[in-house]
């Protein structure tokens, strides 16, 4: 894996990287925050990109649920089917990958095809 910059400055950089990854022949998924309730750490429209080896760049929550999103993204890459994920304090998943801030988020994960 090529060395990544420690911090991608903007969403533009992240989507450009997704395109670059894909052109390098890597299989890529894009996760996007599509809805938030309460105090969510990243705004709607934030992206996380993931490749088939589990390398990722960007953020959708500030670190709370990225691990779970990466796992689902690997599935999305394998099946080629997009899916919507929900995280929050109110559901079962939240106990495994919860948002300590008490917010809830919905994330759309899609493959780059």
């Amino acid at each position: 894996m090529a060395e990544e910059p420690a911090m991608a400055a903007s969403e533009d950089d992240i989507l450009s990287r997704a395109e670059a990854w894909s052109r390098e022949g890597r299989k890529v998924a894009i996760a996007t925050v599509i809805e938030t309730w309460g105090s969510a750490p990243r705004p709607v429209g934030s992206h996380l990109i993931i490749d088939e080896e589990g390398n990722f760049l960007g953020s959708v929550s500030g670190g709370c649920v990225e691990g779970a999103v990466v796992t689902d993204a690997l599935d999305v890459i394998a099946t080629g089917q997009p899916r919507t994920l929900a995280f929050g304090v109110a559901d079962e998943t939240a106990w495994q990958a919860g948002l300590s801030c008490g917010g809830q988020i919905r994330i759309y994960v899609e493959p780059v095809t």
Partner: protein, 232 residues
């Protein structure tokens, strides 16, 4: 997302043009709507509303949910005056993702040594600004205290519809500036858009502190609409 759609979206972003990626959430069907195509789009009205707020979000139409991913150009800023405040502002603007250019015709100020990592243009605003293409995603920051340099830049910022036009100077200095702009034909509404005294009122004293207050005010103008009005 098809790689071709992603590439087209990135091309629009790179060219500093607005675009919206529409995703029907149930089916995953997507289309890229460029700025010029919004009006003709079936979701044109909703897209226009999201774009005006610079915000992505879900809209429902005909029983279907669509995610509108809004791509608007990153904010750029032009500081008039290669002064101490600009020196402090440069690294902070970069951290905030704002692309800063400094313009000052006084070559002693506008030197590479004083601004190692910033684009500095040692020319008069009248000459430099047309090339910088001020637009609705640009913040204009007038910091020289010199009407010969600041006034033409402020006028250009107002005419170009910059989302933020701020000018350094006391209320008294600004009062005189307002008179000059009136004489130059600017209306009250336009003049009222100028943030002066510049910066959020956080009691800033030193140049770096003033830079913080200016950056904070730009961020506020970017995310919160309509803009805050000075009560004078």
């Amino acid at each position: 997302m098809k790689l071709s759609v992603l590439a087209a979206l990135n091309a629009e972003r790179a060219a500093r043009r607005s675009a919206v990626l529409v995703t029907e959430l149930a089916s995953g069907r997507q289309r890229l709507v460029k700025a010029a195509e919004i009006e003709a789009d079936p979701l044109g009205q909703a897209i226009g509303a999201q774009m005006a707020q610079r915000k992505s979000g879900i809209v429902s139409e005909g029983g279907r949910d669509y995610f509108l991913s809004v791509a608007v150009p990153p904010v750029k800023a032009v500081a008039i005056g290669a002064v101490h405040i600009s020196q402090a502002l440069a690294p902070m603007a970069k951290l905030a993702g704002i692309d800063l250019t400094v313009v000052d015709p006084r070559t002693a100020f506008a030197s590479k040594a004083r601004f190692p990592d910033v684009t500095v243009i040692a020319e008069w605003p009248d000459l430099a600004l047309p090339r910088l293409k001020l637009d609705a995603h640009t913040a204009l920051i007038a910091l020289t205290h010199d009407p010969k340099i600041d006034d033409p830049a402020i006028a250009a910022g107002l005419k170009a519809g910059c989302f933020y036009v701020g000018a350094l100077g006391s209320r008294k200095t600004h009062g005189k500036r307002v008179e000059r702009l009136r004489d130059a034909g600017f209306g009250e509404a336009e003049i009222g858009r100028i943030r002066a005294p510049i910066g959020l009122d956080i009691g800033a004293v030193s140049p770096p502190e003033i830079a913080v207050s200016i950056l904070a005010e730009i961020i506020e103008a970017q995310h919160r609409k309509p803009p805050r009005r000075e009560t004078t």
